[in-house]
């Protein structure tokens, strides 16, 4: 029974990971690729880690495996956010059929610091999020 559960979790993890890799391969621009790789890849490895935790049936191993899961859940969104923001700053092009770009006003302005920020959009000038 335990082996069957472990097998099913492994299949689920493999399926999610494969979908994430497929999305990374086939999606049209960086941001959608980031979406696929972060979410599906994290969920796939989570399923595999849970399978390992169930398989070994030890508290120490389960804690380690779930620590990997917790760490992935903490770091994957942060890493994806940082990469997406940096990519937006260096003007990685969006998909041509993209509908809305809420950070678009920071993209189209020149990057020289002498240009004043748009009135009405405080804190959205180039370099203002530098901190």
């Amino acid at each position: 029974m335990k082996d069957i559960i472990v097998s099913l979790m492994l299949w689920a993890g493999a399926a999610f990971t494969l979908l994430g890799a497929l999305g990374t391969l086939r999606m049209p621009d960086l941001y959608t690729r980031l979406q696929a790789s972060t979410k599906a890849g994290t969920l796939g490895v989570t399923c595999i880690m849970v399978a390992a935790a169930i398989h070994f049936m030890e508290l120490a191993v389960a804690v380690r495996a779930l620590l990997v899961v917790a760490f992935l859940f903490l770091t994957a969104p942060v890493a994806a956010h940082i990469i997406a923001r940096a990519a937006h700053y260096i003007r990685v092009p969006l998909w041509e059929r993209n509908v809305i770009d809420e950070l678009g006003d920071t993209r189209r302005k020149p990057l020289s610091p002498s240009s004043p920020p748009e009135p009405g959009v405080p804190g959205h000038g180039p370099g203002s999020t530098r901190g």
Partner: protein, 95 residues
């Protein structure tokens, strides 16, 4: 029932390994293809995540739970690398 489970796990492990290898190949294609620098970073991040899963499956296959530590360290190093590259890109632009 337990024999069926053991047999199922016996052929599941190599099959899942093969699927993860295929996923790694797709990510490597994206890593080579690019076209921008963040694309390479995303592909490398995905490859590292998949390798963490492969290491966990290897731990199940060899019945050596020590390998789980490798997954943990891999996740840590990947996160640090991604954050470093992200800050490098932002500094390069906003300076």
């Amino acid at each position: 029932m337990s024999e069926f489970g053991a047999t199922m796990l016996g052929w599941t492990l190599p099959a899942v390994m093969a699927i993860l290898a295929l996923a790694t190949a797709m990510a490597v294609f994206r890593l080579v293809r690019g076209p921008t620098l963040p694309d390479h970073v995303v592909a490398l991040d995905l490859i590292g995540t998949i390798v963490a899963g492969i290491v966990a499956i290897h731990a199940i296959r060899t019945a050596q739970p020590v390998y789980i530590y490798a997954s943990l360290v891999l996740g840590l190093v990947l996160f640090l690398g991604t954050v470093a590259i992200g800050y490098y890109l932002e500094r390069k632009v906003t300076r």
